[in-house]
């Protein structure tokens, strides 16, 4: 039931509210967010447009004019939406369709631009860093920053690091990075502040597909080290 979950509802704009859960990054929170999202999409209110996961929140967008006209209890669009959400029955046992993706990554010095610096900082060898980074399954928490950019957690503690003091003006598409207790992949050439440790030939986003993203929140990712030669043959 909705009231067993601890969350609050805050206004973002005239046509968006934020359902805020405990402000932490955890698999439990992810489950709450995805269950809430699934339950809402199954029984949406009149005027509902879309819901967007954050690490510990779900942003809900709506057509304010339509909500205003709709027969929903509440004084104003935001009030109507908040009231509806508070009464929403959330099936916390919702089975989240979670796929495992094995993503090949080349950690060669050509692509692992920040590995030398990280070796110094972590007091680990490059091989140890690679083994640690590729040794576990990550969970996709959300997609954001750019289309298709996955926020993956939770990065093993010995690899915890800050963003670069001077972000790069250009990070190549396919770059695999780490920051904080997260790891992620840049789908496009963009500026970026994460520490870059490798590159994948896999395409994360295609605008011409109905579902344009390879990865979705709730999915799992395992990185598989490949050689430079393998990378070139896959590209």
């Amino acid at each position: 039931m909705a009231d067993s979950l601890h969350y609050s509802i805050a206004r973002l704009s005239e046509r968006a509210v934020i359902v805020q859960f405990e402000p932490t990054i955890s698999p439990e929170n992810l489950k709450h967010i995805l269950s809430f999202k699934a339950s809402l999409e199954k029984n949406p209110f009149d005027g509902f447009l879309e819901s967007v996961p954050g690490y510990s929140s779900l942003t809900i967008y709506f057509d304010a004019f339509r909500v205003n006209e709709a027969r929903l209890p509440g004084r104003s669009p935001i009030d109507k939406v908040a009231t509806f959400l508070k009464r929403l029955t959330v099936d916390d046992e919702t089975v989240i369709d979670s796929r495992l993706h094995t993503i090949p990554v080349c950690y060669d010095s050509k692509f692992g631009l920040d590995l030398p610096e990280l070796e110094e900082k972590f007091k680990l060898s490059k091989e140890e860093i690679i083994a640690m980074h590729s040794g576990i399954e990550y969970t996709v928490y959300l997609i954001g920053f750019t289309p298709g950019f996955p926020y993956l957690g939770i990065l093993p503690e010995p690899l915890e690091c800050k963003r670069k003091d001077n972000p790069r003006k250009r990070v190549e598409a396919g770059s695999v990075g780490i920051a904080g207790r997260q790891t992620g992949i840049y789908p496009f050439d963009t500026p970026g502040g994460w520490q870059i440790i490798g590159r994948t030939p896999v395409r994360l986003f295609s605008a011409d597909l109905e579902i344009p993203c390879l990865l979705e929140p709730g999915d799992r990712v395992k990185f598989e080290p490949i050689s430079l030669k393998e990378f070139q043959s896959l590209s």
Partner: protein, 326 residues
């Protein structure tokens, strides 16, 4: 029918009312920076409100249009000439013969909107004709329009045909739609509190609404940077990525402000201290780098009422046009 661009010194992209239902894929809504001007332009030529128009940034633009093209220029930033004769802003115009359209930059706004009856005919990508340049999709092949580009125009609706007919004797349109001022005080941009509004002390909140901010050169479709006295914050917690939208005012680590705009990210890690009210985002969008703005704080309820009353007025405007040209 088509628009043939011969000179392009401005950023031109096809934009409509935005790309919805894909934000959880990290895809921003995009769409027009000045939604009021887009509405006005589409309404003047009898288009659907969601039709794509051309958003034109500051710079000279010259294009050839075919006879029979119904068009309108709204927003601010250019003077409009057809075959070297100045034409009115915010009115339906019919090209009686093949003509040359020139847009000369003025000293005022940032974005003009050229709507053509029938809409800009580009394929929908992920449900919208808006251009998202950063990832290269949508609009005209995911790109800005350049000299040499030919942009196709869609089929005219019955309403567009009626408006066209009313101007086919070469007369000027005797009606127009006013650009909606939404009851604002000139020079002020209204904001409402955001989730991290109370991360600021009362003094800092006051600072936000009493000091002027200058739009910096480092402003674009993704976001507008505002410079002024740095605003420090009370709560120094790190923010974890959470929802943001067009109009969200973020406080950077250096105490500066960034207002997210049409191509802004879907999630952000900076504190959201205020939200520009929906009906005033267009005003900020039209403010030139170097110019100053001042914020005025209003309540969330008031912001909602302004938005709803604008929606109502827009629907009434469309009904009025439909009745007039039945």
């Amino acid at each position: 029918m088509s628009l043939k661009f011969t000179k392009v010194k401005a950023l031109i992209t096809a934009q409509d009312t935005g790309r919805w239902h894909r934000q959880s894929y990290g895809v921003p809504i995009s769409g027009a920076m000045d939604d009021s001007a887009l509405f006005q332009a589409n309404a003047l030529v009898g288009n659907e409100i969601s039709n794509a128009a051309l958003e034109i940034g500051i710079g000279e633009v010259v294009m050839a249009i075919s006879s029979g093209t119904l068009f309108a220029l709204c927003g601010d930033g250019h003077t409009l000439l057809m075959d070297d004769i100045e034409q009115p802003h915010g009115k339906s115009i019919l090209a009686i013969e093949d003509s040359i359209i020139t847009l000369m930059p003025n000293t005022r706004g940032m974005w003009s909107y050229l709507a053509v009856g029938g809409g800009v005919d580009v394929p929908k990508v992920l449900g919208s004709r808006s251009t998202y340049l950063q990832a290269g999709f949508g609009g005209w092949k995911g790109k800005a329009i350049l000299a040499g580009t030919v942009v196709e125009i869609g089929a005219k609706s019955a309403l567009t045909e009626s408006i066209t007919k009313s101007l086919s004797d070469g007369s000027n349109a005797k009606w127009s739609i006013a650009y909606d001022q939404n009851f604002r005080k000139p020079g002020f941009i209204r904001i409402a509190p955001s989730p991290e509004w109370d991360w600021l002390t009362e003094r800092q909140q006051n600072q936000l609404v009493t000091q002027p901010f200058r739009v910096s050169q480092d402003s674009n479709r993704m976001g507008y940077r505002l410079s002024g006295n740095p605003i420090s914050r009370l709560i120094k917690d790190e923010m974890i990525s959470s929802g943001v939208s067009k109009g969200t005012v973020q406080l950077t680590n250096e105490g500066g402000l960034v207002v997210l705009m049409a191509d802004g990210q879907t999630v952000g890690g900076y504190p959201r201290i205020a939200q520009v009210v929906a009906v005033d985002i267009s005003v900020l969008a039209q403010t030139r780098p170097g110019e100053s703005i001042q914020f005025e704080l209003i309540s969330s309820e008031e912001a909602e009422q302004l938005f709803l009353s604008r929606e109502k007025r827009w629907r009434q405007t469309i009904k009025g046009i439909e009745l007039k040209f039945k």
